[in-house]
Amino acid sequence: MNHLEPTNSFSFPRLVQVIKRTYTLNKRTWGTGVLVILGALLLFWFFPLILGRQPWHQFISGNLIQPALFFYTAGGLFLTSAVFYELHSPDTAFLTLTLPATSLEKMAGAWLITSVLYTVVSVVLYLVLVLILHGFSLLFIGSEVPFSLYQLSNSEVGQTLVSYFGYQSVFLLGAVVFRKNNFLKTLLGIIVFLAGLFMIGGLLFLIIGGSTLEGSYSIQLSSNDLFTTLYSIFNVLIVLVILTISYIRLKNKQVA
């Protein structure tokens, strides 16, 4: 058995072991989740065919990506909410809190597994599913159906990935902070925050753009490239801030 150097600074081999640990402890739950999602996607695929409302090629070329993106986002956020489940019970907190790894490694491990690794696995699973469906259609229809992988490079996929990485950081914070119902509480937090933001934004537009909402439409911020860049940088900064807060909360977490 290889032992890890008990250094107090960040250790990559220890990070790998933390990731391995997180994966192994959760693999049964996650495996069930994957099967449920794959099953749901197959249902999405089969129903229109069974009902005869959609020809093969239409479905293969487009419709699978939308439910896949939905399940990717929802599944990932669920998974993220539960990644620190050990922390919130006095019976299991010792497993995480006394694990000889730095808080940064524990946080980085949780983030990597629920964002980057989760995305890679999701893409691989999606491609496998598409290949299976393609093979299935070849086998049973006996003719080639339009099939391409362009679906993974369209803007909808890109936007979903960007949104996921943003929201995922918030759910990671929720996973550290909330003791129970992490997913729902984080979701509620986001809704309340966004509602507040819209209200403040609406008021500002009313003040800046005039007395009516009509005036606000004349401000076309989204068409400005500089604004788009600044907005992206702002989003990245927000994610970094949320991840830093999550790390601090984890570092200061005490037994439940």
Partner: protein, 282 residues
Amino acid sequence: MVTIKNLSFAFKKGELLFNNLNMDLQAGRTYGLFGLNGAGKTTLLNHISGMLFPSDGSCIVNGYPTRERRPETLSDLIIVPEQFELPPVKPFEYINLHAPFYPNFDEGQMNELMERFVLDRSKLLSKQSYGQRKKFLISFALAANTRTLLLDEPTNGLDIPSKSQFRKVMAATSNDERCTVISTHQVRDLESMIDKVTVLHNGSIIFDQTIESISDSLIFKRSDLLTDDAIYSEEVLGGYQIISKNIDGGQDQPIDLEMLFNATIDTTEKLNQAFIIEEAQS
């Protein structure tokens, strides 16, 4: 090895559980941490393991505050909580996942301990009985060979043969570099293993003596009549069980830790007085 300095802690504001608690735990000793329910034994172990942070003061293990949770400190410290759950993995998976974090973990020793405790290697840990899980965790903690070992009610949930096996295993694995703290209510299960008795009461340490010192200062005897020199007595069938000052250096009976514990709670000052005189004489 473990230094607790002016530690204060409260779960709720204004309700101090510990108030300026001081302790110094040495390597090579096994400390028996006793106290009534709610005295703060588990809370103290949680402070030593870095799972709780003091409101004031510090808890230092091997030179560093445990609240920093430095991997170097945590890899040389292990806790077996009283109440715990283990993940749904098989024993070998748990070992493969956690053992690499402990540089002195001995796989051979782990296998040996698992055999001695007759542990099931094929069943998921989460599906095993509480006693089986506890024996597994104790085995893991001992095989980790950390210099600080914290055991919270280790014999709770163990059957009689397992308790006996636990005592044998503890005796076989004790060493001069390890500081073991055992928190327990079941003093009779562990009295042969402990070499320092620490009693926690109302947030303070009211008694802290080695077995040697107890043996030198106190005498445990049975008497038909209640004698004047009794520091503490308990009525038993046909007489009294008495703790009195050991004047002539003899010892009629082995130390009865349960009775000693009762004495520390009921007659704290009187009991400690016997040690002050002893210390002054020496």
